[in-house]
């Protein structure tokens, strides 16, 4: 790109190893699109199956009522909102890596940003379903949109839920555009390599891209601005989500720390998910030489950073609850740690605050097996973080009304369905689109020169 990252920060080992030529890169990446094996098909089938189960459960709920999910007043939000926040959070790592690290000229993003960006889009697509799933009258969810209607009534823009509608909507739109936009030159490259129906398909998806000087000129500029626009979304979207909670007055929700705390958590969970996805993926697609320890080491460092921020946030929550002298806050946090649902609170703290600290050790950061295991803990922990936050509802101001969370099969099947939905899209993407950004990798490989300055050369 025009303002590109070719000029590496001094002292950085150039990456990837320059034994490759441009031709190799194209070949390898196109290679990832080779016809799928049994394993892949099995996974895809499983994902679709999960999705179907979830969808069926959702329909059941639409016809029979939310009551079949495990809501127990005063807990009026439960697994659905937990899962909603979980998936939104996942998204953020993608945008962070693809946009913010791009602006920071961080070279290691190149090999991984495409996959994380795809993850972002699919995660947000998944998250977007939940507000609809969770409302009482799903069939009129569109009443939340500001459109002229027979009720002569506009939505209430003071409601954080309206902010959500716009934040999530914008995030989904912009990050999808960013993904597709980045894909265009690569799709063109594939178009020129494949034959048959794929040729037909990619010809259309390439939007007539030829890589002319004129196209590149606008493209590079626009990409920069898109990145610049995505960057603040990373911070804003989850802040807005956090205000769904923070702008209420429920003890345990009503905290100024929520926005930064949520953003850190989001990135933490996102990178956790990236690790979970990439570690097996790079093997399956035989691109270990493109996505290497170097990348995982860096992502692990990011995890460590955000994990430590979370550690601080958790500590701060408890401190403030105690220091405020506010009996409601105190009770909530006391019960979070020692109440009937203590296990939730501790799962969250152990998986997020403690496990992440293992990453101080380079040995662990570069041991993919260890990383994979840790990433699973992260996913678990972050889901529970949201569960625990929602659980603040179970013991708020009026003790007489207290109750505890108690999900049913409906909650779990719909959660399963969301995982299926997400995996389905990701698997389809991985097998049909370049999971590594061809054009950006190429940037690292100097063009051969007649003067023979650079190595490489051609066949």
């Amino acid at each position: 790109m025009a303002t590109s990252i070719v000029d590496l920060p001094t002292g950085h080992t150039p990456y990837p190893p320059i034994t490759q030529t441009h031709a190799d890169v194209t070949r390898d990446v196109v290679g990832t699109l080779s016809p799928p094996g049994k394993g892949y098909l099995a996974l895809l089938a499983a994902a679709v199956a999960c999705f179907v189960i979830g969808a069926a459960t959702f329909l059941f709920m639409v016809f029979k009522g939310l009551g079949y999910a495990g809501y127990q007043p005063p807990i009026f939000w439960s697994v659905f909102i937990t899962t909603f926040v979980f998936w939104v959070g996942i998204g953020h790592a993608g945008t962070l890596i693809s946009a913010i690290l791009y602006l920071f000229r961080s070279p290691w993003r190149t090999a991984v940003y495409r996959s994380t960006e795809a993850m972002t889009v699919f995660a947000v697509m998944t998250a977007g379903l939940f507000p609809i799933i969770h409302i009482g009258r799903q069939w009129i969810f569109y009443w939340l949109l500001p459109y002229p209607n027979a009720r002569y009534l506009w939505p209430n823009f003071k409601s954080p839920l309206m902010w959500d509608v716009f934040a999530i909507g914008t995030y989904l739109t912009v990050s999808s555009c960013f993904l597709i936009f980045g894909l265009v030159p690569d799709v063109a490259a594939i178009r020129d390599k494949v034959t048959g129906w794929r040729k037909w398909l990619y010809t259309r998806l390439a939007f007539g891209w030829q890589g002319t000087d004129n196209q590149w000129r606008h493209y590079s500029r626009a990409y920069l601005y898109l990145a610049a626009l995505c960057a603040p979304l990373v911070l804003s979207v989850h802040s807005v989500v956090s205000w769904d909670f923070a702008s209420s007055l429920i003890p345990g929700w009503h905290g100024t720390i929520f926005a930064p705390y949520f953003v850190a958590g989001a990135i933490y969970s996102g990178i956790g998910m990236v690790l979970t996805l990439l570690i097996p993926l790079r093997k399956a697609l035989k691109i270990e030489h493109m996505i290497t320890e170097y990348h995982f080491d860096n992502m692990a460092k990011l995890t460590l950073l955000t994990g430590t921020i979370l550690f601080y946030a958790y500590g701060m929550e408890y401190f403030v609850a105690w220091y405020s002298g506010n009996t409601f806050e105190q009770t909530t946090f006391w019960r979070r740690a020692f109440g009937p649902e203590w296990w939730g609170g501790w799962t969250m703290i152990v998986c997020n605050a403690f496990v992440s600290q293992l990453l101080w050790f380079r040995k662990i950061r570069t041991n993919l097996t260890a990383l994979f295991v840790i990433s699973i803990f992260i996913n678990l922990g972050m889901w529970f973080e949201r569960w625990v936050i929602i659980q603040s509802l179970s013991n708020d101001f009026i003790p007489y009304a207290w109750d505890s969370m108690n999900p049913t099969w409906v909650d779990w099947f719909i959660f399963l369905g969301s995982c299926g939905w997400f995996s389905m899209w990701f698997l389809l993407f991985a097998k049909n689109f370049p999971i590594v950004a061809i054009q950006e990798i190429k940037e690292f490989i100097p063009m051969p020169r007649k003067s023979g300055a650079a190595h490489g050369g051609h066949h």
């Binding site: 009522g65 127990q72 939000w77 009482g136 954080p160 009996t327 009937p340």
Partner: protein, 1005 residues
């Protein structure tokens, strides 16, 4: 859209009204609603039916023996609500939970819809002609073997039954489950007259109740609650003290300033101990002095296990207070020596000079035997002497202990008939069912006490093809002919009632009968002053030896609850789901054990224990209850029906199974049992309560009498007690409040919001509120609130727009256990947290200060409910509106209130439909709305007048003056949400002010 502030008579409402009234017209056009399938428009409109306007009829409640006067609100020919009759001296315009649930007796889906005959064990519908023919045959043949068992029947019908039975040489048996037999026997002994006294709780300065649950089932609960509120509710710096003596804390004890639990069965000694002190002070009849001479505080302490100091103090206080009042005879404390206890109380009242002041004789015209009579019947049946029996409003097979073997005896009777409206246990054993009209469908009368003559009139066409038992008997008598025909000859029972009232008119020296009759119909009866008859001591004999209870490890008491009474309430969903005021359990029976006992038996709440007595065994889930002696276990009555409809049958177990039915004037409800834990058996209790402690959150406030009398505010009182209240102090907090004021002012400038507006508000006086939950039922009835069932209550999904929260105070570190109640409904906050979070404006603020909830607009994000600090918003998780009103219960629905669909949020609307109705009436009459010309359903029902509703902007309004009381406070005031509901702190008249609340954040589950 009656919940929206726009004028209610918009097109949609107009259509619903016309539609509904069409149905009404069809009903009126004279056939039972079962047959009505299509809407019939008014062709000739009956002049008392105006579509959309309610018609009220005066009648009398038949849910218990008290016979309160009611107003029946009918819309388009359907009774839709029962309210108290202001003219009636007993109810004075209020009505208890049981009374209001009478409607669900009328519309009960399990009512017997036609006469039925049992053939080969199966019920077969027959015509009324067949039924009457059959009855004539068998009764005619029965001769002296004919028995008519009448429970509640009183007035004209009783007379008719008596004549019909005696014409055959048979007999009328008067028996009702909770007949006050012990009192009658005791009065017979002490004063030589077997009738009951009436008690003036309102005048007593000191109330000593020895096991009499006068706020629940004993006597005339509604009237007594009103009196109790008068004397015990804090007024002009003073209030009576109420001491309750009994083994467990029932609702009455929970409202006492002091609860004493002597060794069960030794209450007699305690009462005589108090009498001893009184006599020592005031002297009295030598027989009396002799009777109490030996009961010195020391001796009584010895006998009862209470501290001599307490006995001395209570005795001293009782002796000093005048007038005072002592009552006994509650079912829950009806020991084998119940008669001795009542006699002792008689002596105490006599010694204290209460006879004639707070205890008045000569008011009860209706002396009867009760238990003794039904036992005699049982023996006669067992002996084969009875050839035909008719049960009317009596269900002895259920309401007598199994050990009484009534069912077996009944099986020996060749011909058994029941007039039961619902197939109950007794009716199930009968051969013929002749379902009576419901009280709201028939002519009837009653004389609950001298001077009070209550009238009942049909307020709507019968729901089913039932027939008035009076008419049946008349027809049968005519068919039998001879003596019977002569004894019972009248064109109809209505005519018979009129005849009775003609005599009454003559007796009352009323000139024109028609005028008298019309007045009686309008006022629900005729109310004259009852002369108090002087009584004198006939015998001071009392046997103070402790009751012989048996040798079981635990004392067991089966006690009635204010909801189910003797079990007749168990088929009324409103009563079954309306949580028990003390334990907050719904839909099932429970076994009460004290925390210490629970620890000893190693049982937790919901674990099953087996109680075994000499008479039988019973299993049930444990309820750990701080208000019960360690050596006592208790089980509520009213559960364990085997018949009696879908809501009652097969629910829980019948506590009577553990009782023996010995000979004697009264059935003892106390015995002894052994308790064993049933391994690995569990049944979650559907409680509406989360955490029983308020953790020092100032939700249910109370202050000692001295503070209240000194005019301290809550905060001052807390200062005095060493618990300084959180003060708004930080700069930020002050600014926030300032900002709110400005914003609020700005908001008030807008279109609809500008100009003079009323500001609706509610005041709740916790010094009067007893927690009886009549308001909850009223709300169910007024606002079409669905009953959700046990499974949903277990998930905390009950829909009670107003709930009574009950918090325990003390009970730890030697403090006395105190139960505090606080009615919690939508607080209609000015700065409502629920409003701004709704993305679709379903929750918004109306110009007159209501917190509006527009159901049609609600998409169900439920954020409002999350953000409501009072947790008073309720969500339709399932299609409750389809499940909760099986035909014909749906006929009760209030046409002025939307029936909410699945997926929307709902909550208390301050009965907005009533507000609008009143506003429009005032507008049509071209006058301003007067304070108190209407009120909300809960306030209207409240027997103790604890709730007051009105316009806070009206300087004259009652609610405004109440809100300025120093006792006034807002729940969770520190949130600055500006509630429109003000609570007036409860006032504790304790010997020594006990510090309340303040439990910090420790676990109290």
């Amino acid at each position: 859209m009656s919940e929206s502030p726009q004028q209610p008579m918009n097109r949609r409402r107009f259509l619903t009204v016309v539609g509904a009234s069409g149905a009404g017209a069809a009903v009126l056009s004279g056939c039972s609603t079962e047959k009505v399938q299509k809407l019939v428009p008014y062709l000739v409109q009956s002049e008392d039916q105006i579509p959309g306007l309610a018609t009220y009829y005066a009648s009398t409640c038949t849910e218990c023996a008290a016979s309160c006067g009611v107003h029946v609100r009918t819309r388009e020919g359907r009774a839709i609500k029962l309210e108290g009759n202001p003219d009636n001296p007993i109810s004075r315009g209020r009505l208890c939970a049981r009374g209001q649930a009478g409607l669900q007796g009328l519309y009960n889906p399990d009512r017997v819809r036609t006469p039925m005959r049992k053939e080969g064990g199966a019920w077969k519908a027959i015509t009324w002609d067949e039924a009457i023919k059959l009855l004539a045959e068998r009764f005619g043949a029965a001769g002296a073997g004919l028995r008519i068992v009448a429970g509640q029947a009183r007035g004209t019908l009783t007379g008719l039954m008596n004549r019909v039975a005696q014409a055959q040489g048979g007999a009328l048996v008067r028996w009702e489950a909770f007949d006050r037999d012990a009192e009658r026997a005791a009065n017979q002994r002490t004063f030589g007259r077997g009738d009951l006294a009436t008690y003036e709780f309102g005048e007593a300065r000191y109330i000593l109740s020895v096991g009499a649950d006068f706020l629940e089932t004993w006597g005339s609960p509604l009237e007594q609650a009103r009196g109790f509120a008068q004397s015990h509710g804090f007024r002009d710096g003073a209030m009576a003290r109420h001491v309750y003596v009994g083994p467990r804390m029932n609702l009455t004890a929970m409202n006492a300033d002091e609860w004493l639990a002597p060794r069960p069965g030794t209450e007699v000694a305690f009462v005589l101990g108090v009498a001893h002190a009184v006599v020592a002070r005031r002297g009295g009849d030598p027989r009396l002095q002799a009777a109490v001479a030996t009961f010195t505080p020391g001796a009584v302490a010895q006998a009862t296990g209470l501290a001599a100091a307490d006995i001395e103090r209570v005795a001293g206080e009782f002796a000093a207070a005048a007038p005072s009042l002592a009552v006994a005879g509650g079912i829950g404390a009806q020991y084998p020596n119940a008669v001795e206890l009542c006699a002792a109380v008689n002596l105490l009242n006599l010694a204290a000079g209460n006879i004639g002041t707070t205890v008045r004789f000569g008011a009860d015209p209706d002396a009867r035997e009760g238990y003794a009579a039904i036992r005699r019947l049982q023996e006669e049946m067992a002996g084969g002497a009875v050839t035909a029996v008719l049960f009317h409003e009596a269900n002895p097979v259920y309401a007598l202990p199994a050990s009484a073997r009534f069912g077996e005896a009944l099986a020996k009777v060749p011909f058994k008939v029941s007039t039961a409206l619902v197939l109950d246990e007794t009716a199930a054993q009968c051969d013929l069912l002749i379902p009576n009209h419901h009280a709201l469908e028939r002519w009837d009368d009653a004389a609950p006490r001298a001077g009070t003559f209550a009238l009942m009139q049909p307020v709507m066409q019968p729901v089913f093809t039932t027939m008035h038992t009076g008419d049946v008997l008349l027809k049968v008598a005519q068919a039998i002919g001879g003596a019977s025909a002569a004894a019972a000859s009248a064109p109809s029972f209505e005519a018979l009632v009129r005849a009775t009232w003609q005599q009454l008119a003559a007796a009352q020296k009323a000139g024109d009968f028609e005028a008298f009759w019309r007045a009686a119909l309008q006022r629900g009866g005729h109310y004259a002053a009852a002369p108090v008859q002087p009584v004198s001591l006939a015998s001071a004999q009392v046997d103070a030896t402790p009751a012989a209870l048996g040798d079981g490890e635990f004392v067991f008491t089966a006690y009635p609850t204010s909801m189910l009474h003797d079990g007749r309430g168990t088929n009324r969903p409103w009563l079954v789901e309306n949580a028990d005021p003390v334990t907050k359990v719904t839909w099932h029976h429970w076994v009460e054990v004290s925390p210490a006992t629970a620890k000893r038996l190693d049982v937790r709440e919901g674990e099953i224990v087996r109680l075994a007595s000499a008479a039988g065994t019973l299993e049930g889930p444990v309820y750990v209850f701080p208000g019960i002696r360690d050596d006592v276990v208790a089980v509520p009555l009213g559960w364990g029906h085997t018949e009696y409809g879908r809501y009652a049958a097969g629910r829980g177990a019948n506590a009577l199974d553990l009782l023996a039915a010995p000979a004697g004037p009264a059935l003892p409800y106390v015995t002894t049992v052994g308790v064993t834990k049933v391994r690995n058996a569990f049944r979650a209790l559907a409680k509406t309560e989360g955490n029983p402690r308020q953790l020092g959150r100032h939700i249910a406030e109370a202050m000692p009498l001295e503070h209240a009398a000194a005019g301290y505010t809550i905060k001052q009182s807390w200062e005095k007690l060493g618990n300084p209240e959180h003060e708004v102090n930080t700069e930020a907090e002050l600014q926030a409040i300032e900002g709110f004021e400005e914003a609020f002012a700005a908001a008030r400038e807008l279109g609809n919001y500008a100009g003079e507006q009323p500001m609706w508000g509610l005041a709740v006086d916790l010094a009067k509120c007893t927690g009886c939950s009549a308001c909850v039922t009223a709300c169910y009835a007024e606002n079409n609130i669905p009953v959700v069932g046990e499974e949903e209550v277990l998930r905390g999904r009950e829909m009670t727009w107003i709930r009574i929260e009950r918090y325990w105070e003390g009970g730890t570190d030697g403090q006395p256990v105190e139960g505090r109640v606080v009615p919690m409904m939508c607080q209609h906050c000015d700065a409502a947290p629920c409003e701004p979070v709704c993305p679709v404006y379903a929750a918004y603020h109306t110009p007159d200060g209501l917190n509006g909830q527009v159901y049609n607009r609600c998409v169900g994000t439920r954020y409002c409910a999350n953000n409501c600090p009072y947790k008073v918003r309720y969500f339709n998780w399932k299609a409750y509106n389809w499940q909760a009103f099986p035909e014909p219960l749906d006929l009760q629905l209030n046409p002025d209130v939307t029936v909410r669909a699945r997926g929307v949020m709902e909550k208390c609307t301050f009965c907005v439909q009533r507000i609008r109705e009143a506003q429009h009436r005032a507008k049509l009459e071209g006058r301003p709305l007067r304070d108190g010309e209407f009120t909300v359903a809960c306030a209207q029902a409240c027997p103790s007048d604890a709730l007051v509703f009105g316009d806070m902007h009206d300087p004259e309004s009652r609610v405004r003056s109440l809100k300025q009381s120093p006792r006034g406070y807002h729940v969770l005031e520190l949130l600055n949400v500006r509630p429109a509901v003000t609570y007036l702190a409860k006032v504790n008249h304790r010997p020594a002010p006990a510090a309340a609340a303040g439990h910090g954040a420790e676990e109290s589950h």
